[in-house]
Symmetry: C2
Subunit: 340 residues, 2 copies
């Protein structure tokens, strides 16, 4: 079975390759009758243009890249879905890459894009990422980039974020109102802007309530699971254990739940927990988990729309350079104040 291409169609119709090509693109240079003939044969033979040839000639591939640290996380999963919906609708294809929180991997992946493999990039930075030279390098080569959620401060690249500072503040304030006095803050990276923002919100809330901030209560968990568990156990069972936790990453909340079960600590009696999370099962957990729920899907959608805006009319940079879609705090049992 030989593959069918423009040449096949052209010779079958007694036309030239260029005519067939133009006809398929509905060019005004081609007569209506010829177009009909071409379209019909193309349909009959089930012609599908070769995308590599097309990408080579036009200098655009109709492919975008999505680079995220992790996929086993409800936020990224939902964001990806938001991106994919828009991409599919716009007729774009989506390459997905996972960095597993590694800067090196992130750099390697982005480096390849210099080749023109993709028309644009949507990225959420790895936890290790402390500079974005590899990202701006792409932008300089004319490849549109949109950062979302895990952004970088002080760049002029388009950003899609949520109100992390405010949310960190509200989460902490919520715990304080539920009478927590020793509130811990958990994260997985201290280099991320998003973490710093949330943490700053946490600190501001403490200050505003005249509570001291203790370095011991601000934990950045290492990548390795076993180490995470050790450190967390130490925190929870130590003499200066917290009575409230702000989990800035979903994973750390899950870890907290697991350890509380193991250590027979009861939530919310002994420890109240609120987490940045998009877990669909948050309301079903034992106890149901209070969350700062980010507009994950919407952020993905916004990132995609912004990217396609940049791709399709590169000149007009009239798009907002920063879009902030607010999160919402949903109080549940894990932060409930119990009578007694």
């Amino acid at each position: 079975m030989q593959t069918i291409n423009l040449k096949t169609l052209a010779s079958a119709l007694g036309l030239s390759v260029s005519t067939v090509s133009k006809a398929l693109q509905d060019s005004h240079e081609i007569s209506p009758e010829t177009k009909q003939r071409v379209w019909q044969l193309a349909r009959e033979l089930d012609y599908v243009p070769n995308p590599h040839a097309s990408s080579l000639r036009r200098k655009r591939s109709k492919i975008i890249a999505v680079v995220i640290p992790e996929v086993a996380d409800s936020f990224f999963t939902l964001a990806m879905k938001g991106i994919e919906v828009v991409a599919q609708q716009k007729g774009y294809h989506t390459l997905i890459y996972l960095t597993y929180e590694s800067l090196t991997k992130e750099q390697t992946i982005l480096h390849d894009f210099q080749s023109g493999r993709v028309d644009g990039l949507i990225i959420s930075l790895s936890g290790q990422t402390t500079h974005i030279d590899h990202v701006t390098a792409l932008e300089r080569k004319g490849i549109p980039v949109v950062l979302f959620d895990r952004i970088f401060e002080g760049t002029t690249l388009p950003l899609i974020t949520t109100n992390d500072l405010e949310s960190g503040y509200l989460a902490t304030q919520h715990l304080i109102r539920q009478q927590c006095r020793r509130i811990a803050f958990l994260s997985v990276s201290d280099s991320l802007s998003i973490t710093r923002q949330r943490q700053q919100g946490y600190l501001n809330a403490l200050t505003d309530s005249h509570l001291p901030s203790e370095p011991d209560l601000m934990l950045t968990l290492p990548a390795h699971a076993a180490d995470q568990e050790a450190i967390m156990t130490q925190l929870l069972t130590g003499p200066k254990a917290p009575d409230g936790i702000v989990a800035s990453v979903e994973k750390t909340a899950i870890l907290t739940y697991q350890l509380c079960e193991k250590l027979h600590l009861s939530i919310p009696e002994q420890l109240k927990v609120i987490s940045f999370s998009n877990l669909e099962t948050a309301p079903l957990l034992n106890p149901s988990l209070s969350t700062i729920t980010q507009p994950a899907f919407d952020m993905g959608e916004a990132a995609a729309r912004t990217l396609f805006g940049l791709i399709e009319r590169k000149s007009l940079r009239t798009m907002l350079p920063l879009q902030c879609i607010p999160s919402v705090l949903i109080p549940r049992r894990s932060t409930q104040l119990l009578a007694g």
Copy 2:
């Protein structure tokens, strides 16, 4: 900033394009000295070959496609991760497509692959898919295809599955042993092989325990969320409500939990629930959810390895046509037999 390609390198070095190309591929035709010169300049100028040109000429793109019904599902998320790990390791790129359980979308997506866009395809069928002509069409065009999890019976395409029949049996048997007598079976599609297998296991278990099978207890939920809720509510509050549920899809278990809370039905006292699921939070739910946990990551990995096997040495079809990786039943509180 002009893009740098083989011609740039060649003229800068006073060599021909073909020599440079061969040097970069470490061809034996090129002298060691020349190779060194080429490699050094390529490194200095940060040359990255254009993948579209390369894909066009060789007839392979080093891109694979992953087509799945949904991404907001822990099984598919994990499987995707398994695939991505292998792909990254093998130097392949991964295009991701979501069908949202729609056959039409699935067909449209696959149709495009006839063009040679991808070197191979890993697919898990949509809930609507009742035939796989669109899949076999690709295979016939010489594009390797691997089906995983949601496979199709009676095809010779390579399959990666888990022991659905047996797991359906074990799940049901487990409920029976916990003294359930009216056990319902929930699914989202009755056309999927995987559903039929699980359901057959369910039926076999009933028969072996001399329990009747009632059609009213075997529910295929519609796609729309509101309808799902109505039907489930009817089931749970009706006069012939079940005392046990086998959820063949994670979503249906979550729905059950949500409704039980709303309807003030207590699990496991009034209703025991076991679900096919890979939820990381299953142990943390209220109550903790008994699951049939599928080897999602491993299945993804196996699918990818099988695919690359087919791609890289197309001739030897010595690979197993069917790989079955067993699931495990993890009993938790949601099916616990309470004293009294």
